[in-house]
Amino acid sequence: MTALIELSAFNKRFGDTTVLRDVDLQVQEGEVVVILGPSGCGKSTLLRCLNGLEEGHSGHLTFAGQSLDARTDWRLIRQQVGMVFQSYHLFPHMSVLDNILLGPLRVQKRHPVEARAQAEALLARVGLADKRDAYPRELSGGQQQRIAIVRALCMNPKVMLFDEVTAALDPEMVKEVLEVILDLAEGGMTLLIVTHEMAFARAVADRILFMDGGRIAEQNDPESFFSAPQTARAQQFLERFSYVENMPKRKAS
């Protein structure tokens, strides 16, 4: 079986700084890959290269068997690669439904009745059916992010990219967004997720990818990665997180 996404010897530079070095990666259909790593390690850039928001300098990228480069018509690829951003980026001048339907109607030229039915079904799935006529400014961060997920899903993508989608949310809203992603994973959708939510990563991932300095430093199934990380860098990274989780109490209780 061929991989849905395949990167080989993939490099990306910003000016003189190399952000991705010799990345080799294969993602199978239906696989959930969580990418971890310290900030600036290239996680987000990796996702952004997969839908052409950034362009690689060398190496190969194929999607569903098609080789992608600067001459690719990225508009076609982007319809199959949904992306959700840290700060949602809903279009503030459009209602929820218009936000969701812009792509299906204007890009995919789908039938309005059919597209609208799908949009409403997806809204119901994320528990926001009653918000379809609201404007983004009337919604909480968690609600906006769930709408942003629906906006990407309504294009019927083959894969979804999540770029730190809970990082800008208040803690009590993180759960509602993670549950939606978990639901997608259980439904068999191919997912690439960049996150700092370790417990979530462990729960949702088929495979953990640990990146450092633009390289894939380590990859493993979640249990092995979290219980016995292979590289010193990954151990260090995980210790920092477990320090926060097991923060010593200041007052003896």
């Binding site: 949904g82 279009f91 001048h93 990407a152």
Partner: protein
């Protein structure tokens, strides 16, 4: 005195109307063309193509650095000499004001587009929008609020600057006023009339821009 003043305005009305028509005609054409040109300029400056940026920068700086009057002379007297093309004074004024206005409107449009969060562009691209839909449905509708008040101010400047057309021989309302003064020596009355004319054309525009700015500020 008052009645003779009104009589004079009444008698001169056809002449004044023709002049007003020319002033408003030049202004209206210049407003329409500089708006279209300005949007094209603003979008082109936003595409991030270095060579295009350089060309448009030269255009911008030329119209910023050289007075409109000099451009008027250059087009009106220069074109026949250098290119053998002569343009009627009215259209020459429209052309120069449009080129100048487009650079002003264009900078406003460019600034408004740049001030939008970068994520709006990326979110649009991520759902597969092409350049036309991206600008037409996502970026420009959002930029419109920010650019309308300053663009209206460019319009009022265009209307006022149109009076320079006198100097290449267009008989606009300012020139008509001068002609009447030469005949009747009623300078206070006629200049007073011109004052009110420009005020009542431009004031509603700048008032509208202030209202829009306040209404859209939140």
């Amino acid at each position: 005195m008052a009645s003779s003043g009104l009589d004079l305005l009444w008698v001169s009305a056809p002449q004044l109307l023709t002049g007003a028509g020319r002033t408003l005609g030049i202004s209206a054409w210049a407003i329409v063309i500089s708006s279209l040109g300005g949007f094209v300029y603003g979008i082109l400056r936003n595409l991030g193509k270095p060579w295009l940026d350089r060309v448009l920068r030269v255009y911008l700086e030329l119209f910023r650095a050289i007075p409109v009057l000099v451009w008027l002379y250059l087009f009106f007297f220069g074109l026949p000499i250098f290119l053998g093309v002569s343009i009627p004074a009215f259209w020459c004024a429209v052309l120069v004001l449009s080129l100048w206005g487009a650079s002003e409107v264009g900078e406003v449009v460019r600034g408004a587009l740049r001030s939008l969060p970068r994520g709006q562009r990326e979110a649009g691209l991520a759902i597969g929008l092409g350049t036309v839909e991206l600008y037409g449905r996502v970026l420009l509708p959002q930029a419109l609020k920010r650019l309308t008040p300053p663009v209206i101010n460019v319009y009022t400047r265009l209307i006022k600057t149109s009076s320079l057309a006198v100097l290449i021989g267009v008989v606009d309302i300012t020139k008509v006023g001068q002609q009447i003064i030469e005949r009747t020596y009623e300078s206070v009355l006629i200049y007073g009339f011109l004052f009110l004319f420009f005020f009542f054309v431009c004031y509603p525009l700048s008032a509208a821009s202030r209202v829009l700015e306040r209404r859209w500020s939140h």
